[in-house]
Amino acid sequence: MTVPHKNWLEWAVFAVSAALIVCVAALLAYEGITLERTPPLLEVRVGAPQPSGDQVIVPVEVSNDGGATAELVQVEVTMERGAEVERAMFELDFVPRGSSAEGWAMFSQAPGDGDRISARVIGFAQP
């Protein structure tokens, strides 16, 4: 077969395209090789509370180090003020594998000294 006549622009587009395809294929293959077929492994990190109107909001980051994406992730956040416990919760649509997602919990009062805020995932669906 003869090599088709193309101008420099067409060859450039072809070269960039071929490079892009090779890169994407290589990255997908690498992901396939390194990805372990494990269930979602969700970890929760509580950030610093900040005022929001007359309430307090607490950022919570959920990261997924497992090999599968978690869907409908329900996160429960509790604030313990001595014997009193205030609960809040939110739901994340998706926490993709290897990624993280953030939500906010709302409480009626700011935490005082010695008060403890903790968060945990209480359930999720497998897409």
Binding site: M1, T2, V3, P4, H5, K6, N7, W8, L9, E10, V13, F14, V16, S17, A18, A19, L20, I21, V24, A25, L27, L28, A29, E31, G32, L35, T69, F94, P96, R97, G98, S99, P127
Partner: protein
Amino acid sequence: MQRHAAAPSLRPASPAQTAGVGLSLREYGRGLAGGLIFSLPLLYTMEVWWAGFVLSPWRLLLALPVTFALLLGYNRFAGLRPDASWLEVAIDSVEELGLGIAVSALVLWILGRVTAEMPVDEIIDKVTVEAIIVAIGVSVGTAQLSGSSEEGGMTEGGAGAEEPDPQFGEQLVLAICGAVLFAINVAPTEEIQVIGLEADGWRLLGIGGLSLALGAVVLYFSDFSGAQRFVHGGGWPAILVGLAITYAAALVASAGILWFFGRFDGMAPAVCVAQVVVLGLAATLGASAGRLLIQ
């Protein structure tokens, strides 16, 4: 309506001349516009973004050669370049897939679906799913949107009379390509699954019947643009055979797309079949009307 069959393409098909850079730029512009026209609905569809991080990377990787094969089909048989060699067709297909990746990445970034903070895996997965769809749009767009007088053009009757009879293989490839082009627009949505889960046998039979009726009307009875090139009399037996092949191609394309988007995962066989039949309606329109339009 003008058709450009058998007219010289903007692409330098003959080795004798090399098209100018301006000409190539215009063609890429057409390809980009076409890619966006055919794929924009899916760039704005949540299920498609989700498919990126829900599907296995191997499935996404497998989609690349399959898409490439489809692009070869579009470019060889729908690209209206009977004189193009397979090497040129392959080079064009590589360019279209590359443009698909670039456009998909750019649009997803502009829409905020892909950000620099995301892990590379998630970005690549999302971009790949959308790139497949954009690439098919680029291919069809490049061929279909050309309206420049430099390409000449013939009236429909003239083209039909001068062209040789379409080959069976060519028609089958075009039917599958047309089916994919149409069906992929609705396949990733949850609606197909919902309809498939809720439909009983009679409803599915009705959907199948409607698909066949639409296919028959488009291919044989409505004087659809380009239909006379495909249909050369033959009476009822020929019509039934043509219709059966078209519907079969549509069902195969439906099943392939649904499997890719994970719609069969964990589903009972009956539900899988129901989804194929539901999507088969869109695919049949593609395999009949879509085929006639893109060829």
